[in-house]
Symmetry: C2
Subunit: 337 residues, 2 copies
């Protein structure tokens, strides 16, 4: 069943059928109704390939993420997909893992499928190290199609970044904990991704303002499993590190910190405060429930899609959109006086 069959049944040319389907050009109401009726009756749907061939677009957005089983990224994808579909776009999903070469390979793969744009979900797509040209693959892609980045920032033409203000939110909560009397603050860092560095620098800035100079020394790299991270904290503590406030770059790390606190028999939040990140389900599963930073993921994803639609529509939009976060205070921090 193709456009010729329909045109034949309707006694018109394929051009007219095409016009009705695409609804742009002028067609007499009478023939339109007739054609519509036949389409309905036959259940005809245009061949997406042929359409793509002509238009060189298939109304499809590629989403790359390192690992969609990560709860944060999974939520992001969920929001992206629903938003995009409401705009009649399909989503091709591509989980790249964390290796640079694979990221590049899959981005090129998606480009070759003629997606209309790509969304890089997660700050790990931005190289933060010194490797020269590590972000070239993004620049190259952006020369062909719009690139949206969630929670990462590079200043390149054709790249649009939507991110939460991680530096600010960590800065704020750190200041609060210090003002509540904490003298042994610690920051647990999952990785040196763009957002990881932002968080870290917010922490260090807050410390500096309160007269703690060597803030870097109070940043702990904790990329391992929950068990390993708890063990690391215990080791540090037994080596004499004082800890009475832990800010974490995700909720899982905060649970590690919680386990550490319990093993140390520290009372929470009197002797130790803990703050997580992402307001994930994990934050409700432990005891006490976690105070955590909610970075308004749903809002960010919706904004990103909105931005993208405008870009595809040729409108002028900002290259960077910064969204403030929201501290959700629960049982692992003292109530703010």
């Amino acid at each position: 069943m193709n456009i010729y069959d329909i045109s034949e049944k309707a006694g018109v040319s394929i051009a007219t059928v095409s016009r009705v389907i695409n609804g742009n050009a002028k067609v007499s109401e009478k023939t339109r109704q007739k054609i519509l009726a036949i389409i309905e009756e036959t259940g005809y749907t245009p061949n997406a390939f042929a359409r793509g061939l002509g238009l060189n677009t298939m109304k499809t957005i590629g989403i790359l993420c390192a690992d969609c089983s990560d709860s944060y990224l999974a939520s992001a994808i969920y929001h992206f997909e629903r938003e995009l579909r409401s705009h009649d776009y399909d989503v091709i999903l591509c989980c790249t893992g964390y290796e640079q070469a694979t990221k590049e390979k899959y981005l090129n793969l998606l480009m070759s499928k003629h997606v209309d744009a790509v969304i890089l979900a997660g700050s790990n797509f931005i190289a933060t190290g010194t490797a020269p040209g590590a972000n070239d693959y993004i620049r190259d892609a952006a020369q062909e199609i719009p690139v949206i980045i969630l929670n990462g920032f590079v200043d390149l033409p054709g790249v649009y970044c939507v991110l939460s203000d991680d530096m600010e939110s960590v800065y704020n909560v750190t200041k609060t904990l210090l003002s509540q009397g904490a003298t042994g603050p610690l920051f647990l860092s999952r990785s040196d991704s763009y957002s990881g560095l932002q968080k870290k620098s917010g922490f260090i800035r807050a410390l500096k303002e309160c007269g703690i100079k060597d803030g870097e020394k109070r940043v702990l790299s904790t990329p391992g499993s929950m068990e390993e991270n708890t063990a690391l904290l215990l080791k540090k503590a037994s080596a004499g590190l004082k800890v009475d406030a832990v800010i974490c770059s995700d909720d899982e790390l905060a649970v590690s910190a919680l386990k550490f606190a319990k093993q140390m028999k520290l009372s929470i939040p009197d002797e130790i405060s803990i703050v997580g990140f992402n307001n994930s389900k994990l934050s409700l599963c432990c005891e006490p429930e976690l105070t955590t930073i909610d970075n308004r993921l749903a809002y960010a994803c919706a904004s990103a899609v909105d931005l993208l639609m405008k870009v595809l529509n040729g409108e002028d939009v900002p290259g960077k959109l910064l969204i403030s976060s929201n501290l959700v205070t629960r049982g692992t921090t003292k109530a703010n006086s």
Copy 2:
């Protein structure tokens, strides 16, 4: 940059270029190398639409899931995507939500995009109620392309189901808890999906075998939030329901049960045992850590993709694949003697 450009540069016809790209027919090693070099140099990639037009396939699998932010489904999608990509298939993701009409709509949408097959991820795609014809949309789809169902079962031609043996695993763990002396077993059920019903019937069968006739009365429907479910349990307990063993259809429910136990000041696992389902991260975040049923999701997904590849290859495969689960014993149940 298209196949004509390449053929011109190489001084051959487009047919020869096509042959080299597809690697099937005979081409002299010399011209092959020459063409390969030019392809490499120009970065040419064939237009997927044009290719799809001719072949009527785009090596793309549609995955439908109700909600990919659900941690279980997110993991499933992750495994599917990686497996499929290793077979050079793309994945179009589609989150349908839980409404029947939307599921049908999106399944048809994917069909119209000429996906080569669809995977229905999650048992909620199977209607278990009495609504006649509620699974017709699956039957119709399966007449056109292979349909794979994860964790659900319907006996229809062209439908291939991969599922964990939920009935058996719940039956087994319930028997164990009863043999350890439990007299107030409870099953917390999230929904009456196919797998939900399987789990429930495993529970009831175990009770029956131990002389507890009215097993249905010990099944609690707990579709709400963690907080609501905990509250429901507290209410039931204060109304006199005896509870000393709780088997849950997911880990989140188990956390609700854990919170209930703590509020009741019941010692775990001496006075109450709790078993979760899925071996998700949640099971490690609470205290004590959850005993939970691991249904080998990664294995199931890999098997499903393997099955699909065989189906697409015209091989004969079973319509149902049942995978046994694995009980992961942690702190919320007594060690088995």
